[in-house]
Symmetry: C2
Subunit: 155 residues, 2 copies
Amino acid sequence: MNNAFMQEAIRLAVENVRSGKGGPFAAIIVKQDRIIAAGANSVTSTNDPTAHAEVTAIREACRALNTFQLTGCEIYTSCEPCPMCLGAIYWARPDRVYFAATASDAAGAGFDDSFIYEELKRPHAGRRIPFEGMMREAGLEPFRAWVQKDDRIRY
Amino acid sequence: MNNAFMQEAIRLAVENVRSGKGGPFAAIIVKQDRIIAAGANSVTSTNDPTAHAEVTAIREACRALNTFQLTGCEIYTSCEPCPMCLGAIYWARPDRVYFAATASDAAGAGFDDSFIYEELKRPHAGRRIPFEGMMREAGLEPFRAWVQKDDRIRY
C-alpha cells in the first residue's frame, strides 16, 4: 500500500471532473512500484458506457504489457468498483485492489450502482432491463465448436 | 424477439472459435429491426480482458449511434452475460436482452463466472483478489469537485 499512488488516482479523478472529460473516478495500475497505466471515467466524452476508470486503466495496462492478465499488478482506484468494473478486475486478475471512497460514499454523491446487484435477485422477465432466454439448444453450438478445438487459449 | 438475429449471434460465436479470435461468445445489437453492431469475444487476440462479446458490441453500437445510451436497442447474445457484461448492459441501458445458452450451460463448458458473485459475499480482505480500503477521506474530493460543477452530464 502506497499513499502516493492513491493520491495520484484521486488527483486524476478531480482533474477529470474539472476538465469535463467525465465523472469523478480514476484508477491507476502499478507493477513493481511503477505506474504502468492510468484511466479516468470518460463515458460521456467518448460515448462509451464501458469507459469507467478501472476498465480504461485495465485496457491500457494490458496494452502496455502486451498481455490479457495483470498478474503482479495492483490497482489503486479512487472509489470502490461498480459491478461492471468488479467483473473486469476479476477477468484481468491483478494481485490486489486498493480503493479510497466506498460504494456507499459514491451512492451518497448520486452514483448508486447497488440496483445492478439487486436486479440479479429478480426473475429475468421482471428486471429493469428484461432478460429473456430463447433458442437455448442452438446456443450450445459455440461451446461444441470450442471443445473440439485443440489449441484453445483459456482465460 | 427475432430468431434470425439470435441465429446470427450464434453463427458469429461459432465463427469466432473457428477463426481463433477468441472464446465461444458473440452478441449483436439491433435497433428498429436492423443490426447496428456485432461483437465477439476477443480477449486473447486483442490482449483485452474486457473484450467480451457484449462489451465489444455495446462499444461498437455506441460509436455507430454517437451516444452513450442504447435506448431503443435490443441485445441478442449467444450466452447469458457474465457479471462484467451485465454491468455494462445496465450502464448502456438497452431496452431488452435476449440470450440463448444459459450461465449454467456456460459453466458446463468450463466458463463458470459465478465465483465473481460469490466473492461479493466475502469480506473485502478475504476475497480471491483482496480489496482494501485506504484514504477514504481524501477519496471524497472528486465527489466534492463533481457537485460543484454546474454542467455535469449524468449517466
